[in-house]
Point group: C2
Amino acid sequence: MQTPGRTKVKELLASKELGSDFVVKGWVRTKRGNKSVVFIALNDGSTISNIQVVANPEEYSEEVLKLVTTGSCIRVSGTLVESPASGQPVEIHAKEIEVYGTADADTYPLQKKGHSLEFLREIAHLRPRTNTFGAVLRIRHAMAYGIHKYFNDKGFFYLHAPIITGSDAEGAGAMFQVTTLDLNNLPKTEEGSIDFAQDFFGKATNLTVSGQLEGELGALALSEVYTFGPTFRAENSNTPRHLAEFWMIEPEMAFFDIKDNMDLAEDFLKYLVRYALDNCMEDLEFLTKMYDAELIDRLKFVAESSFERLPYTTAIEILIASGQKFEYPVSWGLDLQSEHERYLVEKHFKRPVILTDYPRDIKAFYMKQNEDGKTVRAMDVLFPRIGEIIGGSQREENYDKLLGRIREMGIHEKDVWWYLETRKFGTAPHSGFGLGFERLVLFVTGMANIRDVIPFPRTPKNAEF
Amino acid sequence: MQTPGRTKVKELLASKELGSDFVVKGWVRTKRGNKSVVFIALNDGSTISNIQVVANPEEYSEEVLKLVTTGSCIRVSGTLVESPASGQPVEIHAKEIEVYGTADADTYPLQKKGHSLEFLREIAHLRPRTNTFGAVLRIRHAMAYGIHKYFNDKGFFYLHAPIITGSDAEGAGAMFQVTTLDLNNLPKTEEGSIDFAQDFFGKATNLTVSGQLEGELGALALSEVYTFGPTFRAENSNTPRHLAEFWMIEPEMAFFDIKDNMDLAEDFLKYLVRYALDNCMEDLEFLTKMYDAELIDRLKFVAESSFERLPYTTAIEILIASGQKFEYPVSWGLDLQSEHERYLVEKHFKRPVILTDYPRDIKAFYMKQNEDGKTVRAMDVLFPRIGEIIGGSQREENYDKLLGRIREMGIHEKDVWWYLETRKFGTAPHSGFGLGFERLVLFVTGMANIRDVIPFPRTPKNAEF
């Protein structure tokens, strides 16, 4: 099946069929010209480049041409010819122009002049029509597709973890409550507490913070699975790095130890960066020119570097020995801040870094305990500009050790009985990690604010559109 | 990067390297034998077939072999040899067996005997280890991947619609509320109502019922987009066809009219059914044998049929003329029930059916109004066994007509100002549809209950795991 009734701009610009007639449809970026010729730059979102439409004003009524303004939507039929202008191989000599939708020049918010990213966030319903967000959203698509392709080609199965969850075992952060109870008239038990037995699911429920535990159930049956779904944090973090709603990819692999896990994470990230370089070069060139001069070089460097691997303990020694002044002083046992991670990556090693064997007290209950009694088989992948882009671990597969840790940390066994049972029946060594999708898109696009790499960001006090 | 440290069962069964040594890891399905030989059927989830491991009991301590029981997880190294047994090309002659995890025969719930699907729902954490759910989850993966591949190959962009939403404009059904307010101590305004200004997003929010409106924003910038994400209905429907949390695919295309939309929907569904036939035949054969003898024939038939297309009005005439007794009597203006849809598909036309031009009063506000003043350019695709599998429409692109309908239906303009603006600035003819992912998986697997085609179903009073 072909695109009905038109040829996409991307295909036209690559077409060799000079002299043939085509129909092209899209939104007008600019119109300029004089009494004898009009030039219309037309874009349909298929590519960052516009096709130039050349029209003879004498062939059209003045009323029609007046409606062709920035932001209007038109249909053009005409002949594809070689373009005399530089920077474009071809152009369309118009025979017919039809206006589908006008855009009043006085009220349409996206006029020719540049707009701040802050302003564009307020009109998130229109910003996909800009060069910047067209580029970001096309790259975002390519990264999502690359992720599915990578795992499918390797024989992983995509597992949909539940979004609404009845347990808060993961402890990864504050959660959003989900309820159908009438908040103006909450049912109470005899003891006076809220009667969640009357709620939709018969108990209190929340939005998931991670699909990992369910991913492990899948891996201990299908060997290699991954999740790719929305996750949520109800934290009041108004920073350029945090969203209340974001997408996460969590592969989980039976029979992988921590070394296999690191190999996969490194291979996966390099594959995605190469995928962007191979499939999104025009958009990357635009973003490099407009936002981040080092972007393409940085992507190429990461695609070709081998990641430095070292234990957390060694990293702490390096940070202490650095003489660098950090806002948060460094000592063994503390969680690393973004400033520490970036020092290691950008100043010390000058390449991506994988830290392993973190203190167990700052990591989650499910991580495999090392023999030293102090550390766990965790791994964080640290990237330039981003800091932590992946967090993962080998999982504790021993039932008694896992149960011990669950009790130490005060997790209710009744919330995780099903998770514990996978260690009781046919347990296996296994590992996995989580990649924040928007962190990846942030890295690949070179954008500075995470609100600018997701179509409709959800942040404190903001759930518009 | 290779699968570290082992070869998957799927690859082993296809291997021609007879006489070579391999390591295979997985879960024991059955063990049988006598004093001189032991046969272990081993599965790792990569395929529905097991690899047979043949071991000489004299080479192993009795303790080790005793631990090799149904459900235990083991590592085997051995030699790949041609199998004398029928139905399997090769087997492994074991040299070493290591037990990773035991499964006590008295307490492991998945012993050899068959289990009811109802029982397996109660142990959804273990059911992916069964043949049935292995098959269903592999097919589910293939369908998700096929969807992404189909759209990527066509130049569509994957757009992530928001999950938490501040507006209930779509009106597709009852919604779940999302809040971080302390339910035991709800803040009140001076007027005594709940003060949602203090809630996380500064207003009342819900879980999305559809990403369509945001999809339209994307299509009116990037031409062709699709969403694929979770959607929610807080309806107390305890049926084999309804979930409170399910996944939906919603393509949205600028410049498509209702005919283009039908062509795409038909091409898309046939592609997916063919994708399953081409990529999941072993699993389909199992499901055909165990659950639905007509499954493969039905899939082949749908992949090759042209779908019957007719207006709703004609369908009503056919139903009335049929003389068939329906539970819900038929008359023009009523929404069709599943029994009516299935009569048309299974009895009358004996093929998939696309109905168009439904009465506007039973359809959503955004559908394009026909000139007759009574109907809208809606389309529903009806499938055997399933009834409605896709619902879609050409959208109303005319600002005044859309606004008129919004006012008629009592939708708050302040909730949809952004949606209206797309008709104010550069509007274009456009269309789209929604496919319920679990309905698709239900059709392709031949399963009867929608709870059995999603890893962790959410239904009234049930949010386990």
